[in-house]
């Protein structure tokens, strides 16, 4: 089992709510480190087959959010992962798989 940490940066003024984040479909611990920086962690994730992070922030189209993912302290994404805007509900969605 691995420790997975996601560090999300977001434009604080434009993001009105932070929704749920799941790592491999397990609920994870969310904590605001500072205004505009969210830390999502779960220390008990099996990443043998895959690593899947799904998370939502509520904000307008250009309120882009970025995420870095760490597995056992090692960063596993080469470039910051950018959120996608879902027009119909007005959310910024992370749906990232490794």
């Amino acid at each position: 089992m691995s420790k997975v940490k996601c560090e999300i940066t977001y434009p604080s003024q434009l993001i009105s709510k932070i929704g749920e984040f799941e790592i491999n479909h397990k609920e994870s611990n969310e904590k605001i480190k500072e205004s505009g920086c969210l830390i999502v962690t779960n220390n008990n994730i099996n990443v043998d087959i895959m690593l899947h992070v799904v998370g939502i922030l509520f904000g307008p189209k250009n309120a882009k959010c970025y995420m870095d993912v760490y597995v056992d302290g090692e960063k596993v994404n080469s470039t910051p992962i950018e959120s996608k805007f879902k027009k119909e509900s007005g959310i910024q969605l992370f749906n990232w798989m490794a």
Binding site: S2, P11, S12, Q13, L14, I15, S16, K17, I18, G19, E20, F21, E22, H25, E30, I32, S35, G36, N46, V47, D48, I49, M50, L51, H52, V54, G55, I56, F58, G59, P60, K61, N62, A63, K64, V71, D72, V76, K84, K86, E88, S89, G90, I91, L93, N95, M97, A98
Partner: protein, 440 residues
Amino acid sequence: MKKTAIILIVNIFVLSSVYCQDIKTGEGESTILLPTTNIGVDVGKASLTFKTNNFPQSKLKPNGFIWGLDVMGKSKEGLSNIFSGSEIVPTSSISTVLGYSFSNSDEISDDYTSKYAKILKDSLNSLSNSFRKSFGADIISEIYKIKSDSAKKYILSKVVPALKVNLNKYEKLQKLLEEMSKDETLQPEIVTSAKTLYSYMKENQTWKEIKSLKVKLESGIENVGSEEYWKLTIYGHFGIKGEKFNIFKGWDSTNIENSFEKETFSGNSGGFGVNYLFNSKWIVGFRYTYQETNNLDELSTNDYKVTTTFTQNTSVGTTQISKTAYPNKYKTAYLNRYDFDLIRFINIGENNVIIADLYLRINESTNQDNLVSYKDLGLSSSFFNMKGKFIGGIYLELPDFEQSVERRKAEEEQELKDWYNRLTFGIYVKYSFSSLANLF
């Protein structure tokens, strides 16, 4: 030296606005509660403000209590008076906000995460478990079937460490075998064995199912349809404002000091407000305030200089004192204030957002003799850079659009103007610590 130090201190405050990303709404605050923690100076108004609230933390919960505190200190006569030697007319205020916020963020989160993922979670778990239990061992037993000892030894030396990798070990192993099967520098026995193992992995039914599940999972979540996001905030607010100033009562030749009277004003205000945000595009805001205030904004101060001459023996001396005072027309008044805001988030290019705010401020006085009722209308546009380095904007305002103050005057004193001649506009910019750090 003292003056330089004051200028330096003021500049530090001016430049050290932390997260001071407010939207401009002319006079009076916006009805929209924004998540600001703010220490800043407004040079034009000579005010120092401190704001704090729990809005950033409250974002984590779909529903919950919110609170905020604003403290403001201000020189009524502007910053220039601090340096001009005249007296300062101090104003201070404290205001608090307490409210509750509701939203449908939980339902939307469920649509994208829990609800959809539950369908796949069980099958993913069972596939993942059976794969983990047997697949590693299966691969090793396949390797032991290789007849060439040197090929067996070489492949084991590569595969065993690969199986210890944490993230995506099987995908990485498959890639390693694929590369080995194409590597012409290796012994033919190794290449042939790697090809066999690669095909074995590729054709494994469980592995195929996991791969298709990954695709299904990713695209499935991408295509989830969900309801429109909304957030409703209801709040109450209460404030206290204090001012100290001089009133000029008329010259008293017997005792000059009696010409001025020190006044202290203390006014309370309270009311409630509602914000409704929908689709992350629009916010509608309304706030009602009952406010105890005064008519100082309608009056302007004068500087009075009193020179006293005295003679002692053959010497003649003079002393001069300065007083800043309002004319003797000071009155208290009560206002019913109705503030409306309509905010629209406008996306500019790929990375920037403009928050446009159309606002209306209705100030109904309960006593027209003491304070005239008036209405302001305005539009502000605040520019947000996504990296948070800079914020600024422009605003356009039509103050007292019914010209109530002018109409109250005697007809020969009235200066009624067309609306376009009464429009005021301005540019405002604010810096944050991060932007300053990047300047050096």
